[in-house]
Symmetry: C2
Subunit: 430 residues, 2 copies
């Protein structure tokens, strides 16, 4: 069998698992690739640290040398630089690159893809979205014969775990975050997860693949889960919904033009929807397609071993192509659809208001909706405790544009009868 | 763009949809393949029939000519012959073959794969298992970096629909079958579905891919759903289980040797298991993997459009390789694991017995288990109506080999205190 030399950049949680499995399962992985897989170098920042299971002779801090000596480069350093430059260098030398770096892909995907195409190189990135759940393969290859209309995903395990704990334990956001940090599901600085940026990067990658159009993280309006309260979750449950942080990408027709509507936001999902049942740190992606209908992919979205599994699948595919011809699928951007202006994206909202008990609060709210041209699907007034001067109104709207919703919320915010707009959440139906 | 000529063999439910989508979405599919897809011929049995949406000039009954004039052949005739010979002929001419024919693959897969390899041809078969659910891609490519330990699937929509109707409507098997036939979910002769043969073919294909070993339909012990009663389903539900026809393939260690245990049979699945919630004609496959943990694929398992979606994804992949180099993944059989003797496969059973009320029936049953060396997990005696001379015993066992279970059932069948072995069902835990 032909030998394929593998350079590993980064030996953290995922990288060390990749090195371990590559060694332990070498015969099996090599058989599947049809090529003898050889780890030829490991670049790390701190060469003084002992790396269990990795031959010390392979360890270096010389990224360039590891790239030069390899046929296939695995980039698992994370962060923007030097990851981006290293991948570009490898692709410019015609090497195969396997990465899990969603941040670089969502910001600099086109640059990497162009380098791959120009130098007959290959770029693989299954590990960048939803760990080992093979949704990148799914969209890039196995559904190439279909037309994707919508991608809806729970793609961030940290926030799903937090929302899940808030639901099942009745905890506050802060309590649930603390537990997630203690268990290692959330980082000390959790902002990339809880503010939705991680999900937004994945949303951009999925949308690019699904709609054959370049989508960058900057195109994705993003709202995290930091404002979600235990009360939001409880009231959602009473109304038959689960609160999930969803990455959404949808083919829409706006002003007669086919466009892509994007967003990451906490969303009310009916308890009967398959995504409502995805608990803990799991990920799931639901694809609505023209011919195959609804498909769902489900599995562990993070963690060293699952992510290593995705990386090694790409390594087997990439090494197979190096040994036997062919390359990774090329960037497919022929459709080049415009990104829908966020203000024009349609959605149904559920709005919770704290209003004055005074007669007329309900009437005024309903009037604001009527004047704003947004149809109200239902208004509920849950029983309140001893606060005699205050009531809660929960308004569910039909679909309207974000601009319309925002205008009405601005009117309500100014009304003396509305004490507080306690919560505004998008609703996913069906 | 290079032109890729496509020959279609068969224009039934799936074939006509393939022709329609290939025409309607030609630009998109061609862009994704990076090749101009051209339908060059359609072979049908009855050329006198009008085929809407297919150019009559393309229609012929000359299979050989359609193959000769094509670069890529789509086989959707179904059945053994002439499908098998046609695929072999195409592969022997170095053509790419896309098929959904699980029967031929499960019986003659090695022959087709060898022809593909010998003539540098390609064989694709995503549509053969679970319609558009991309589990063939999943096992063949996207999970090549992992080690599959178990495949558990609902891979036959007809039987899942029937069991589902029996569960939700309380119908008998016969009633539910009738409705399935009326709705077009079951054929006039439903035996391939209800006796489990369709699921067994898919089980063999999935096991071959998962375990890198040749597995034929003849290796799969198969039991259908024709004996399942409404009472079985009701009692399962009371005990916290759903009854599902499962295709199972598992890596096991028997007598110190790693082997593959196979089977298709009605199985009690805990209501908390993801497969318990798969309703109607849907398919789902759960993979237990070494590194990625549990993954699930879910979607429409049959029907013209979903199956056409799978076929066209293979067409896009195959045409891409024809135009730009590379080929379908080759048959991977390096592991060559032995198939576990059916009698040595371990399982937990739930056995329902109708026994004499006479004191001693319970004792005798328990004794039979003790003497047979099978540990009893629980015995339940549901309340009965007015039959004073008869009681029901439901025995749940711990894991034991099929031979052990069979020996005990033979002893029980001979006991004068056991009137009837009403039901024997495998139990899937966790």
């Amino acid at each position: 069998m032909k030998e394929v030399r593998i350079g590993l950049l980064g030996a953290g949680t995922v990288g060390s698992q990749v090195a371990r499995i590559l060694s332990e399962q070498n015969r099996e992985l090599s058989e599947r690739a049809g090529a003898n897989l050889v780890l030829s170098g490991v670049a790390v920042r701190d060469v003084s640290k002992t790396r269990e299971g990795i031959d010390p002779a392979l360890i270096t801090d010389d990224i360039e040398r590891v790239i030069q000596e390899a046929d296939l480069v695995i980039e698992l350093m994370g962060g923007m630089e030097p990851a981006r430059s290293a991948m570009l260098a490898a692709l410019n030398q015609g090497k195969t690159v396997v990465t899990g770096n969603k941040a670089v892909l969502a910001a600099h995907g086109p640059e990497l893809n162009e380098a791959a195409e120009a130098h007959d190189a290959s770029l693989y990135f299954e590990a960048a979205v939803a760990g080992a759940v093979p949704v990148v393969y799914g969209l890039r290859e196995s559904l190439a014969g279909d037309r994707i209309n919508q991608v809806l995903g729970i793609v961030n395990g940290t926030t799903n775990f937090i929302l899940d704990q808030m639901t099942t334990q009745g905890w506050s956001y802060e309590q649930a975050l603390k537990v997630a940090q203690d268990l290692g599901y959330a980082e000390a600085d959790p902002s990339a997860d809880v503010e939705g940026h991680d999900a937004a990067a994945k949303c951009a990658i999925l949308a690019s693949l699904a709609f054959h159009t370049r989508v960058s993280i900057a195109d994705v309006p993003t709202k995290g889960i930091t404002d979600i309260t235990a009360e939001d979750i409880e009231q959602a449950r009473e109304a038959g919904y689960a609160v999930k942080l969803l990455a959404k990408a949808q083919r829409v027709l706006v002003d007669g033009v086919e466009q892509i509507a994007l967003g990451v936001e906490p969303t009310l999902v009916p308890l009967t929807h398959p995504l409502a049942g995805i608990n803990g740190p799991y990920n799931a992606i639901v694809l609505e397609t023209e011919f195959a209908g609804r498909l769902m992919f489900y599995g562990a979205g993070a963690g060293g071993a699952p992510t290593a599994s995705a990386v090694l699948s790409d390594v087997v595919a990439g090494a197979g192509h190096i040994a036997h011809g062919g390359h990774a699928p090329r960037e497919s951007v022929y459709a080049d659809l415009p990104i829908c202006e966020p203000g024009k994206v349609l959605s149904s909202l559920q709005v919770r208001l704290e209003v004055s008990q005074q007669i007329g609060a309900l009437a005024q709210v309903v009037q604001a909706y009527q004047e704003g041209g947004v149809s109200v699907a239902s208004v509920r007034q849950p029983p309140v405790g001893d606060q005699e001067d205050q009531a809660t109104l929960i308004i569910s709207t039909h679909r309207a544009t974000k601009n319309q919703h925002d205008d009405i919320l601005a009117v309500l915010a100014k009304s003396p009868l509305v004490h507080k707009i306690a919560s505004v959440m998008s609703v996913e139906e069906g």
